[in-house]
Symmetry: C2
Subunit: 124 residues, 2 copies
Protein backbone atom coordinates (compact mmCIF):
# COMPACT_ATOMS: atom_id res chain seq x y z
CA UNK A 1 0.00 0.00 0.00
CA UNK A 2 1.75 3.09 -1.27
CA UNK A 3 0.51 6.50 -0.22
CA UNK A 4 1.23 9.37 -2.54
CA UNK A 5 0.84 12.97 -1.42
CA UNK A 6 0.18 15.79 -3.83
CA UNK A 7 1.69 18.94 -2.38
CA UNK A 8 -0.03 21.15 -4.92
CA UNK A 9 -3.48 19.88 -4.03
CA UNK A 10 -5.82 21.99 -1.96
CA UNK A 11 -6.94 18.85 -0.16
CA UNK A 12 -5.30 18.56 3.28
CA UNK A 13 -2.64 15.88 3.63
CA UNK A 14 -4.56 14.00 6.31
CA UNK A 15 -7.57 13.89 4.00
CA UNK A 16 -5.51 12.63 1.10
CA UNK A 17 -4.20 9.82 3.28
CA UNK A 18 -7.70 8.98 4.43
CA UNK A 19 -9.03 8.93 0.88
CA UNK A 20 -6.26 6.66 -0.36
CA UNK A 21 -6.71 4.21 2.49
CA UNK A 22 -10.41 3.94 1.69
CA UNK A 23 -9.59 3.50 -1.99
CA UNK A 24 -7.13 0.79 -0.99
CA UNK A 25 -9.78 -1.04 1.01
CA UNK A 26 -12.27 -0.60 -1.81
CA UNK A 27 -10.10 -2.13 -4.51
CA UNK A 28 -8.63 -4.87 -2.34
CA UNK A 29 -5.09 -3.56 -2.00
CA UNK A 30 -5.82 -3.50 1.70
CA UNK A 31 -7.48 -6.59 3.10
CA UNK A 32 -9.70 -6.85 6.17
CA UNK A 33 -7.54 -7.37 9.23
CA UNK A 34 -4.44 -6.09 7.50
CA UNK A 35 -2.28 -3.66 9.41
CA UNK A 36 -1.76 -0.18 8.04
CA UNK A 37 1.72 1.30 8.01
CA UNK A 38 2.73 2.56 11.45
CA UNK A 39 2.16 6.21 12.19
CA UNK A 40 5.85 6.97 12.45
CA UNK A 41 6.77 4.71 9.56
CA UNK A 42 4.37 6.27 7.12
CA UNK A 43 5.25 9.76 8.30
CA UNK A 44 8.92 9.14 7.64
CA UNK A 45 8.25 7.43 4.33
CA UNK A 46 6.32 10.32 2.84
CA UNK A 47 8.24 12.99 4.72
CA UNK A 48 5.57 14.50 6.89
CA UNK A 49 4.79 14.89 10.56
CA UNK A 50 3.63 11.91 12.60
CA UNK A 51 0.65 13.76 13.97
CA UNK A 52 -0.66 14.36 10.48
CA UNK A 53 -0.72 10.61 9.87
CA UNK A 54 -2.27 10.08 13.27
CA UNK A 55 -4.99 12.56 12.40
CA UNK A 56 -5.80 10.63 9.25
CA UNK A 57 -5.94 7.34 11.17
CA UNK A 58 -8.16 8.81 13.85
CA UNK A 59 -10.53 10.03 11.18
CA UNK A 60 -10.65 6.56 9.62
CA UNK A 61 -11.18 5.06 13.04
CA UNK A 62 -14.01 7.46 13.82
CA UNK A 63 -15.64 6.63 10.51
CA UNK A 64 -15.46 2.94 11.27
CA UNK A 65 -12.97 1.84 8.66
CA UNK A 66 -10.18 0.79 11.01
CA UNK A 67 -9.51 -0.06 14.64
CA UNK A 68 -6.40 0.20 16.72
CA UNK A 69 -4.64 -1.95 19.25
CA UNK A 70 -1.80 -0.53 21.27
CA UNK A 71 0.57 -3.16 20.05
CA UNK A 72 -0.84 -4.35 16.75
CA UNK A 73 -1.14 -0.85 15.36
CA UNK A 74 -4.02 0.23 13.19
CA UNK A 75 -5.81 -2.48 11.20
CA UNK A 76 -8.57 -2.60 8.61
CA UNK A 77 -11.83 -3.65 10.18
CA UNK A 78 -13.30 -7.00 9.26
CA UNK A 79 -16.90 -6.03 9.90
CA UNK A 80 -17.76 -2.85 8.05
CA UNK A 81 -21.10 -1.29 8.62
CA UNK A 82 -23.00 -2.25 5.47
CA UNK A 83 -25.24 0.75 5.43
CA UNK A 84 -25.68 0.63 1.67
CA UNK A 85 -26.33 4.34 1.45
CA UNK A 86 -24.21 7.41 0.90
CA UNK A 87 -23.09 9.66 3.72
CA UNK A 88 -24.43 13.20 3.80
CA UNK A 89 -21.18 14.65 2.54
CA UNK A 90 -20.90 12.08 -0.24
CA UNK A 91 -24.45 12.77 -1.27
CA UNK A 92 -23.89 16.52 -1.28
CA UNK A 93 -20.65 16.12 -3.19
CA UNK A 94 -22.32 13.90 -5.75
CA UNK A 95 -25.09 16.43 -6.30
CA UNK A 96 -22.44 19.05 -6.95
CA UNK A 97 -20.57 16.89 -9.43
CA UNK A 98 -23.76 16.02 -11.28
CA UNK A 99 -24.76 19.67 -11.53
CA UNK A 100 -21.40 20.52 -13.03
CA UNK A 101 -21.65 17.60 -15.43
CA UNK A 102 -25.09 18.70 -16.60
CA UNK A 103 -24.04 22.29 -17.15
CA UNK A 104 -21.04 20.96 -19.06
CA UNK A 105 -23.40 19.30 -21.46
CA UNK A 106 -23.21 15.71 -20.33
CA UNK A 107 -26.27 13.53 -20.74
CA UNK A 108 -27.44 11.14 -18.08
CA UNK A 109 -26.14 8.27 -20.16
CA UNK A 110 -22.72 9.91 -20.51
CA UNK A 111 -22.49 10.34 -16.78
CA UNK A 112 -23.71 6.89 -15.84
CA UNK A 113 -21.19 5.34 -18.22
CA UNK A 114 -18.36 7.15 -16.46
CA UNK A 115 -19.67 6.02 -13.08
CA UNK A 116 -19.95 2.46 -14.29
CA UNK A 117 -16.37 2.42 -15.51
CA UNK A 118 -15.08 3.94 -12.31
CA UNK A 119 -16.98 1.44 -10.25
CA UNK A 120 -15.54 -1.47 -12.18
CA UNK A 121 -12.03 -0.07 -12.42
CA UNK A 122 -10.84 -1.10 -8.99
CA UNK A 123 -12.62 -4.44 -8.87
CA UNK A 124 -12.38 -5.61 -5.29
Amino acid sequence: MIIKINDMSDIPIYQQIRNQIIAGISDGKLEPGEQLPTVRGLATEIGINSMTVSKAYQLLKQEGYVYSDRRNGVCVRRDFEQKKQLSKSSSDGLKCIIAEAKVGGMTKEDFLEICEKMFEEGQS
Copy 2:
Protein backbone atom coordinates in the same frame (compact mmCIF):
# COMPACT_ATOMS: atom_id res chain seq x y z
CA MET B 1 -32.76 32.21 -6.77
CA ILE B 2 -32.34 31.86 -3.05
CA ILE B 3 -28.90 31.22 -1.60
CA LYS B 4 -28.78 29.43 1.73
CA ILE B 5 -25.60 29.34 3.78
CA ASN B 6 -24.87 26.60 6.27
CA ASP B 7 -22.72 28.08 9.02
CA MET B 8 -21.95 24.67 10.47
CA SER B 9 -20.55 23.34 7.21
CA ASP B 10 -16.83 22.98 6.75
CA ILE B 11 -17.25 24.19 3.18
CA PRO B 12 -16.24 27.86 2.82
CA ILE B 13 -19.06 30.32 2.24
CA TYR B 14 -17.77 31.44 -1.14
CA GLN B 15 -17.70 27.79 -2.22
CA GLN B 16 -21.24 27.20 -1.00
CA ILE B 17 -22.40 30.18 -3.04
CA ARG B 18 -20.56 28.93 -6.08
CA ASN B 19 -22.03 25.44 -5.75
CA GLN B 20 -25.56 26.74 -5.39
CA ILE B 21 -25.24 29.01 -8.41
CA ILE B 22 -24.08 26.07 -10.52
CA ALA B 23 -26.92 23.96 -9.15
CA GLY B 24 -29.29 26.79 -10.03
CA ILE B 25 -28.01 26.90 -13.60
CA SER B 26 -28.18 23.13 -13.84
CA ASP B 27 -31.80 22.82 -12.82
CA GLY B 28 -33.01 25.88 -14.68
CA LYS B 29 -33.69 28.16 -11.74
CA LEU B 30 -31.11 30.44 -13.33
CA GLU B 31 -31.48 30.95 -17.05
CA PRO B 32 -28.76 31.84 -19.55
CA GLY B 33 -28.35 35.62 -19.67
CA GLU B 34 -30.08 36.10 -16.33
CA GLN B 35 -28.44 38.46 -13.89
CA LEU B 36 -27.25 37.13 -10.57
CA PRO B 37 -28.03 39.09 -7.42
CA THR B 38 -25.69 42.05 -7.02
CA VAL B 39 -22.60 41.55 -4.90
CA ARG B 40 -23.76 43.98 -2.26
CA GLY B 41 -27.37 42.86 -2.44
CA LEU B 42 -26.63 39.21 -1.88
CA ALA B 43 -24.11 40.02 0.83
CA THR B 44 -26.69 42.02 2.73
CA GLU B 45 -29.41 39.44 2.14
CA ILE B 46 -27.48 36.57 3.64
CA GLY B 47 -25.59 38.70 6.14
CA ILE B 48 -22.03 38.32 4.98
CA ASN B 49 -19.25 40.47 3.62
CA SER B 50 -19.42 41.77 0.07
CA MET B 51 -15.97 40.53 -0.78
CA THR B 52 -16.98 36.98 0.04
CA VAL B 53 -19.73 37.17 -2.56
CA SER B 54 -17.32 38.79 -4.98
CA LYS B 55 -14.90 35.93 -4.46
CA ALA B 56 -17.59 33.42 -5.33
CA TYR B 57 -18.53 35.36 -8.47
CA GLN B 58 -14.92 35.64 -9.56
CA LEU B 59 -14.52 31.90 -9.18
CA LEU B 60 -17.62 31.30 -11.30
CA LYS B 61 -16.32 33.78 -13.85
CA GLN B 62 -12.95 32.09 -13.97
CA GLU B 63 -14.63 28.73 -14.46
CA GLY B 64 -16.64 30.07 -17.34
CA TYR B 65 -20.11 29.96 -15.83
CA VAL B 66 -20.78 33.71 -15.73
CA TYR B 67 -19.53 36.99 -17.16
CA SER B 68 -19.67 40.50 -15.82
CA ASP B 69 -20.42 43.89 -17.22
CA ARG B 70 -19.68 46.96 -15.18
CA ARG B 71 -23.26 48.07 -15.30
CA ASN B 72 -25.29 44.95 -15.93
CA GLY B 73 -23.73 43.07 -13.09
CA VAL B 74 -22.86 39.39 -13.25
CA CYS B 75 -24.89 37.27 -15.65
CA VAL B 76 -25.16 33.60 -16.52
CA ARG B 77 -23.33 32.84 -19.74
CA ARG B 78 -25.31 31.82 -22.77
CA ASP B 79 -22.55 29.82 -24.38
CA PHE B 80 -21.16 27.30 -21.93
CA GLU B 81 -18.19 25.29 -22.93
CA GLN B 82 -19.72 21.93 -23.73
CA LYS B 83 -16.73 19.88 -22.83
CA LYS B 84 -18.82 16.85 -21.99
CA GLN B 85 -16.25 15.54 -19.55
CA LEU B 86 -15.62 15.91 -15.86
CA SER B 87 -13.05 18.29 -14.44
CA LYS B 88 -10.06 16.80 -12.64
CA SER B 89 -11.44 17.66 -9.23
CA SER B 90 -14.87 16.30 -10.08
CA SER B 91 -13.32 13.10 -11.35
CA ASP B 92 -11.18 12.72 -8.23
CA GLY B 93 -14.15 13.47 -6.01
CA LEU B 94 -16.28 10.95 -7.80
CA LYS B 95 -13.64 8.26 -7.40
CA CYS B 96 -13.62 8.98 -3.69
CA ILE B 97 -17.38 8.77 -3.38
CA ILE B 98 -17.48 5.52 -5.31
CA ALA B 99 -14.79 3.98 -3.12
CA GLU B 100 -16.78 4.88 -0.02
CA ALA B 101 -19.94 3.50 -1.55
CA LYS B 102 -18.25 0.21 -2.40
CA VAL B 103 -16.77 -0.21 1.06
CA GLY B 104 -20.21 0.56 2.47
CA GLY B 105 -21.58 -2.44 0.62
CA MET B 106 -23.29 -0.77 -2.30
CA THR B 107 -23.44 -2.62 -5.57
CA LYS B 108 -22.84 -0.95 -8.90
CA GLU B 109 -26.56 -1.09 -9.57
CA ASP B 110 -27.36 0.54 -6.22
CA PHE B 111 -24.99 3.37 -6.99
CA LEU B 112 -26.08 3.93 -10.57
CA GLU B 113 -29.69 4.11 -9.45
CA ILE B 114 -28.87 6.88 -7.01
CA CYS B 115 -26.97 8.76 -9.69
CA GLU B 116 -29.83 8.37 -12.12
CA LYS B 117 -32.32 9.78 -9.63
CA MET B 118 -30.07 12.70 -8.76
CA PHE B 119 -29.56 13.47 -12.43
CA GLU B 120 -33.28 13.54 -13.10
CA GLU B 121 -34.22 15.33 -9.88
CA GLY B 122 -33.47 18.87 -11.03
CA GLN B 123 -34.71 18.48 -14.59
CA SER B 124 -33.40 21.46 -16.48
